[in-house]
């Protein structure tokens, strides 16, 4: 089994530097990190990958059974770490990927030495005494809109990346696969993400952890950031002045700065 091919693994940055693994969340793929990779690559070896079913991963390796639970995604992470023989790597997970990192660290403790959780949430649906931000009805609406967009998408089905020579950071290697996932797979990933409840799993975190939250994030409101921070005694909380759920795109400098600070203090 060719893990590198299966998960579209790419490795860049400082050849003998400490390893930082960047893991995308629900919605797109490793291209999410494009704007922070240059800053990280100066001092670290940066590993990027796509979960099976997303981006440029091998879709034939996808199975509903495996990827209907976060364990399946954690398994991807462990397999990538094993393949690259990583030791004490830093795992940076965005959104639900932060939780996947928690599970992977538990499954393979020697592989992951620290966690960076970018806009994490252990549970999106409100519960008694817990504000996740959404109702079950809201999640159903999301799934509906996913479906209608795949049907109604016109000839611009796979958004074409504009190659712009004045914006070198985009590069030529971006492919049509960015954000154009198989609709059935997207549904499963969406259900797995938004119906999950990983609050108990936070208790198992035994490594230094950075919780990066955004000041105005609909998907992971401030209460969630506070909850995660409180559930992980060894964690540090940094709130970025950013709107939206993807600070690595909307505020890339602040994001990479926060990550680099944390890594420096940890080493």
């Amino acid at each position: 089994m060719d893990i590198r091919g299966r998960n579209n693994v790419s490795v860049t940055g400082l050849a003998d530097g400490p390893v930082v693994v960047l893991a995308h969340g629900f919605g797109c793929d490793q291209n999410m990190w494009r704007l922070v990779v240059p800053a990280l690559a100066k001092q670290y070896r940066v590993v990027l990958f796509d979960y099976v079913g997303s981006g440029g991963s091998d879709l034939s390796a996808w199975s509903q059974e495996r990827y209907s639970s976060l364990q399946g995604y954690a398994q991807d992470v462990v397999e990538v770490c094993d393949e690259l023989q990583l030791e004490e790597a830093v795992f940076v997970g965005h959104s639900v990927s932060a939780i996947v990192g928690v599970l992977a660290a538990r499954m393979a403790p020697t592989r992951i030495g620290a966690l960076v959780m970018v806009a994490p949430s252990p549970r999106y649906i409100d519960d008694a005494g817990y504000r996740g931000g959404f109702s079950a009805q809201d999640i159903e609406e999301l799934l509906d809109s996913l479906e209608s967009n795949y049907l109604g998408w016109s000839s611009t089905m796979a958004p074409v990346i504009m190659g712009n020579p004045e914006r070198p950071e985009l590069g030529q290697e971006l492919t049509n696969s960015f954000c154009a996932t198989d609709p059935d797979i997207a549904q499963v990933f969406a259900r797995t993400t938004f119906l999950s409840d990983s609050r108990e799993d936070l208790k198992s975190v035994a490594v230094p952890t950075l919780v990066l939250e955004c000041s105005q994030d609909v998907i992971a409101p401030r209460e969630v950031g506070a909850y995660v921070h409180a559930a992980i005694p060894s964690s540090r909380l940094v709130t970025l002045e950013a709107t939206g759920h993807c600070p690595q795109l909307s505020a890339p400098e602040a994001t990479s700065e926060a990550i680099l600070d944390f890594l420096a203090s940890w080493r």
Binding site: G25, P159, I219
Partner: protein
């Protein structure tokens, strides 16, 4: 009406002026007008989504006032919750990376709570240093398109479902058909095997005797209820029997099997005919009637001993409720060999069986038959039964006859009954050859 002058008519002048006026009015349309009253919604936001500019069309659709929106709300606030999630996880990131996004289906929420299906296209405007400045968005009313899409989706799902059901039904039908075929074959095999166990596959060669048989089952897939056998007892003595079990089908076949093997076993143990039938009676009674399920057979069992002096062949037999056997004599007579008082076998705990005895000389033939023969319907209207008297008369007409001769004659007679013959029929003939003492090969006509 002809034109007389060379100038335009008054109405034409008015038309031209009207068209001109419209044209002029269009030219005077300011960019502002075009923007505000466009047939689609326009929206400009900062990179964090804060609405900077919005046209009247969109405001009207949303039922919102400009003051409430500009600088105060974000684009995402105009969406349904599912739309917000989609915006955060797909729309916004893609726009950041690509700078452009077209034809995304979303739903806006109007002030009065209605949902408006729309198609959204957005473009990022960059500044001099390539930094993203703002987002320009166009919003198209997609209500009809959405309805159409949903209809397509629904139809596709229905078609999928129907196809899956049809597949399944076909699969099940195939399975059922294959199953039925396998069952049919298995049944046919079982029947064939079973049938073979009910009658001997061929008659043995008996020194000093000629034996012939005819066996016919009324319908091909029903197992016959008639049975017969001919086997050695040792010491030059042979046993024979012929009979008819009650009922039809597999249950009758089971009874036939039991009967045949019980008779054989009893005969080999102690061949006295009445004793053999008594044994059979006990076995059948205890197995069936004793339990409230009476089942019986009628049978003639006998022993035959061709003498060293080939003129004398001794026959001793007993009958359990069976039609009496016939003897065709060399002198042209035919007589029944009766055993009065015999009762069908298996219905009472003890049953009476009496023995009859005769000797066969050269040219004499003993004939056993089942009631398929005598009960055959004959006559023009198939009303009357063939009957005992007619059989005796027929036999007398054909006497003297070898075993094979009488069987052949009777087979012909049976065929002449045509569809009057609706029962199983078995015929067994044992004859002492008229001339030579050498054994004739048994003539075997099982059907």
């Amino acid at each position: 009406m002809c034109r007389t002058g060379d100038g335009p008519e008054p109405t034409e002048i008015a038309d031209a002026a009207g068209t001109n006026a419209a044209f002029i009015a269009l030219l005077e349309d300011s960019a502002e007008e075009l923007y505000e009253s466009a047939p689609c919604g326009y929206l400009s936001t900062l990179m964090d989504g804060t609405i900077a500019k919005i046209n009247a069309t969109l405001l009207n659709w949303l039922g919102l006032r400009r003051e409430a929106v500009v600088g105060k709300a974000r684009f995402a606030d105009l969406l349904t919750v599912g739309g917000k999630l989609y915006h955060e996880t797909h729309f916004a990131p893609l726009l950041r990376i690509q700078g452009e996004l077209r034809g995304i289906a979303l739903e806006l929420k109007s002030a009065d709570g209605r949902r408006l299906p729309v198609l959204v296209s957005s473009v990022v405007k960059y500044g001099g240093e390539d930094e993203p400045l703002l987002i320009r968005t166009t919003v198209f009313d997609a209500a009809d398109r959405r309805a159409y899409e949903q209809e397509l989706l629904r139809r596709r799902q229905e078609a999928e479902r129907a196809r899956a059901e049809a597949e399944q039904a076909r699969g099940e039908a195939d399975r059922a058909r294959r199953q039925a075929e396998v069952e049919r074959e298995r049944l046919a095999d079982a029947l064939a095997v079973l049938q073979q166990s009910l009658v001997p596959s061929s008659l043995p060669v008996v020194p000093g005797l000629e034996a012939a048989v005819h066996y016919h089952t009324a319908s091909p897939d029903r197992l016959g209820g008639d049975f017969y056998d001919l086997f050695p007892l040792g010491g030059g003595r042979w046993a024979f029997f012929l009979g008819d079990v009650c009922g039809k089908g597999p249950r009758a076949a089971a009874l036939t099997s039991l009967t045949r093997y019980t008779l054989r076993a009893a005969a080999l143990h102690s061949p006295e005919p009445a004793a053999v039938l008594t044994t059979l009676n006990t076995v059948l009674y205890e197995k069936h009637a004793a339990g409230g399920d009476p089942r019986f057979c009628t049978v003639i069992f006998g022993t035959i001993e061709p003498g060293t002096d080939h003129d004398r062949t001794t026959v001793r037999l007993a009958s359990g409720g069976h039609p009496p056997s016939l003897v065709l004599r060399a002198d042209g007579h035919a007589d029944y060999l009766t055993t009065p008082g015999g009762l069908l076998v298996g219905v009472l705990p003890t049953a009476p069986f009496s023995t009859a005895e005769t000797t066969l000389g050269a040219g004499d033939t003993l004939l056993l038959y089942t009631d398929g023969l005598t009960e055959a319907r004959t006559g023009a209207t198939r009303e009357s039964l063939f009957g005992d008297d007619a059989l005796r008369a027929f036999a007398a007409d054909h006497a003297p006859s070898s075993a094979s001769g009488v069987i052949t004659a009777l087979t012909g007679l049976l065929e002449s009954f045509g569809d009057g013959l609706d029962d199983d029929t078995a015929l067994l003939a044992l004859g002492v050859p008229a001339t030579h003492p050498t054994a004739h090969p048994a003539t075997n006509q099982p059907r």
